[in-house]
């Protein structure tokens, strides 16, 4: 039986909850079951489709330490069919001596008859200072 998310915010809550619990079945319930879904992990290549995205989450869940998320500074663009959420993911690990810079994530949700599902997760590391003069970073 599949879970129905009445709002994009509900789907987002379920996404980060599954991520923290490292629950692959709950994670894949959040995603649209389409070939056009896209997931980009920080510094990773672009993954498309259910099989590749599921395999990457399974690998991440088997490697990651236990951590919590704090989400902050959400910006939302939304209409009846699409919702784009841009968030700062603050990742909290007990063994960390200092606070990490946030991961910036763009999450896109799409509405179908059965509610809202994730179609895109694009996450990237942010540095505290932008390396504008570094020659390898062109924009």
């Amino acid at each position: 039986m599949s879970t129905v998310f009445a709002t994009a915010a509900d789907a987002e809550t379920a996404f980060y909850d599954a991520f923290m619990r490292r629950d692959i079945e709950a994670m894949m319930q959040v995603w649209d079951q389409s070939d056009d879904i896209v997931c980009i992990h920080p510094l990773g290549t672009r993954l498309t489709g259910v099989a590749a995205i599921r395999a990457a989450w399974a690998s991440i869940f088997s490697h990651n330490p236990q951590f919590r998320f704090q989400l902050a500074e959400r910006v939302v663009y939304a209409d009846a069919q699409l919702a784009i959420h841009i968030v700062h993911e603050h990742i909290l690990i007990e063994s960390d001596a200092a606070r990490r810079p946030p991961v910036i994530a763009t999450n896109v949700y799409r509405h179908h008859n059965d509610g809202w599902r994730m179609v895109l997760h694009h996450a990237s590391p942010s540095q505290t200072q932008q390396p504008r003069s570094a020659p390898e970073v062109l924009h």
Copy 2:
């Protein structure tokens, strides 16, 4: 006089054209004139609002070498008011000995009375291999 983009694809073409020409006025014509616009350059912090985004492009245009873009593997989610384009930006510089890994960009466009404008550019570097086992990359 402001330029009107009849489609999100037209706005995207103008965005990369302004980027290659390092034309700050043409670049800012592509963006929505709102406080909620967001721009994330590779490894950079999240910039919001017209003033901050304009200042960063001006800085980039003053530092960047001459280069060309080739866009590839576009994935699109769109309805009447919002369009999300995920693209691979292949950056071509004559002095480069080898092809660079692509930058992955999520570009979001919003429709108003006067056509389509960019509200989000989220760009991040991709490595050819995903650093799954690197402890500092948590997902």
